[in-house]
């Protein structure tokens, strides 16, 4: 009984940490973008103010049940991903559910949220939403291929589909997987550009072009839920990358440093790049990232 209570408490603490860290990263991103563009930029806690304002807005939009469920799907997916990913290596503070799910389940669950969101956006009947969903799913087809190839390479090479198993492999050998399977790491990082949807791959939101795409009919509290879900999901994905390729982290400070450095790759690539068209984005993902994915699988098969 006590163990169950600890698990629930750990899950709540993990969620709060993920929310705060994800929101702060979002604010820092805005600040860094502003500094790159030679502006002063908003304070780093701007996202918290925005979230509070959105939560306190009255919301009188109703397009049907599925529209109401879309943000909920996103939130559920984010929390589920977060609970399956082990936050700290060998730590009893954040045990969560990481023994009950493996990489294959994670691959499935990570696409679940955007699909739910797509259904919700479809019911609003806004043409911008429909175009945004089409673009989002095309882009997903693009980046999922190098991402899956990189994970499959890891699974073949180390004979395990468990995230904690891969972390143990790194702890035993003493080298990070980003050094021992470099091609898988490169493919995964390139797929990350599509996952985080910063420019040049912000074709889904595209504020000036699609009026923010799938979320264009959602304001106020809907947007608050999506914003929180996005922040939590960002933290979960970054933690997953750190667990898989950078040996996990033994305490929160190391985790924050590693995730922040990793997060800066798409952000800094984004602030200096204009937006791709959909077919350019898909072609980009099916080019070099997929090539590196192939190399990773070949390496895995040879070294197996």
């Amino acid at each position: 009984m006590e163990e169950v209570l600890y698990n629930i408490l750990g899950a709540v603490v993990t969620f709060i940490v993920a929310f705060v860290v994800g929101m702060t990263y979002g604010g820092l991103t805005r600040k860094i973008t502003a500094r790159v563009q030679n502006r002063k930029g908003p304070p780093f806690y701007q996202n918290f103010i925005d979230a509070f304002k959105l939560a306190s807005k009255k919301t009188a939009i109703h397009h049907g049940v599925m529209h109401l469920m879309g943000p909920a799907f996103l939130m559920v997916t984010s929390v589920m991903t977060l609970l399956i990913v082990p936050v700290l290596a060998g730590n009893n503070w954040f045990p969560n559910l990481n023994f009950h799910g493996d990489l294959i389940f994670l691959l499935y669950i990570m696409t679940f949220g955007p699909l739910g969101m797509a259904l919700g956006a479809g019911q609003t009947g806004n043409p911008n939403s429909a175009i945004g969903v089409t673009r989002g799913l095309s882009q997903m087809v693009g980046f999922e291929i190098p991402w899956v190839m990189s994970l499959v390479a890891l699974m073949i090479q180390y004979h395990t589909t468990s995230i904690t198993g891969l972390m143990e492999v790194q702890a035993q050998s003493g080298t990070w997987l980003m050094l021992s399977s470099p091609f898988a790491f490169i493919a995964a990082v390139m797929a990350m550009f599509g996952m985080f949807r910063y420019s040049p791959f912000d074709i889904v939101g595209a504020p000036t072009e699609l009026a923010s795409g799938p979320v264009s009919e959602n304001g106020g509290k809907f947007l608050f839920v999506m914003m929180s879900a996005g922040s939590v999901f960002t933290f979960a994905k970054l933690t997953l990358y750190v667990d898989l390729f950078m040996g996990g982290a033994s305490n929160l400070v190391v985790l924050l440093i590693k995730t922040f450095l990793l997060y800066m790759i798409p952000v800094l690539y984004g602030v200096t790049s204009p937006r791709y068209r959909t077919e350019q984005a898909v072609r980009w993902f099916w080019g070099w990232p997929t090539f590196f994915g192939f190399l990773a699988i070949i390496q895995a098969v040879i070294l197996k």
Binding site: G41, Q46, K58, S212, G220
Partner: protein, 181 residues
């Protein structure tokens, strides 16, 4: 939210503070004034440091910015956009044209006084107002929000018949949906 008067005061204070520091603007580029928005947002004047940010759709926006003259045809769309926005919402009248018609005061198809058709919270005068004036207008709006005096939307709801009569007088074929708040 809470019935108790004192706690309601505190909640109002916090909510108004967050509203004040997070203003998402729907810059409705009706007239020539829209050209002053990009310099306000970009490197030179950087409105984002005040929490002012562009919003993509009316659903997400807090402030509707009417930049310049409004033709009768556009007015219909602007009303539609305004009614799609979520409370609390504010309107900024931008440029002389929204105050008294400006240089289009005797034009056959523009409106002269915006306040008759939509509740304006803050006017920014000038033809064109420079980005400094726009920022000063935002500061004025922030002040009004913090004091809880930016209640244009409430007035619009309370005096809906008056606004509707004005709108219907000027728009010839009225096919808008009827709302009942």
């Amino acid at each position: 939210m809470v019935n108790d008067k004192h706690s309601q005061k505190i909640v109002d204070f916090i909510q108004n503070w967050s509203r004040k520091h997070s203003i998402w603007v729907l810059a409705y580029g009706t007239g020539c004034g829209a050209i002053e928005i990009p310099p306000t947002m970009t490197s030179r004047y950087d409105a984002e440091r005040l929490g002012v940010r562009g919003a993509a759709t009316p659903r997400q926006a807090d402030v509707l910015m009417i930049t310049g003259y409004l033709t009768v045809k556009t007015l219909k769309r602007v009303i539609r956009v305004y009614e799609q926005m979520q409370d609390p919402k504010y309107v900024i009248g931008f440029g002389s044209c929204t105050i008294n018609g400006g240089m289009y005061y005797d034009s056959y198809n523009t409106i002269n006084v915006l306040d008759k058709y939509l509740p304006v919270d803050v006017y920014i005068n000038g033809c064109m107002p420079r980005p400094e004036a726009v920022l000063s207008g935002f500061a004025q709006l922030q002040k009004r929000i913090a004091e809880g005096r930016a209640d244009g939307a409430t007035q619009y709801k309370e005096n809906l018949e008056w606004y509707r009569a004005n709108q219907k007088r000027i728009i010839p074929n009225w096919v808008m949906p009827e709302y009942n708040w």
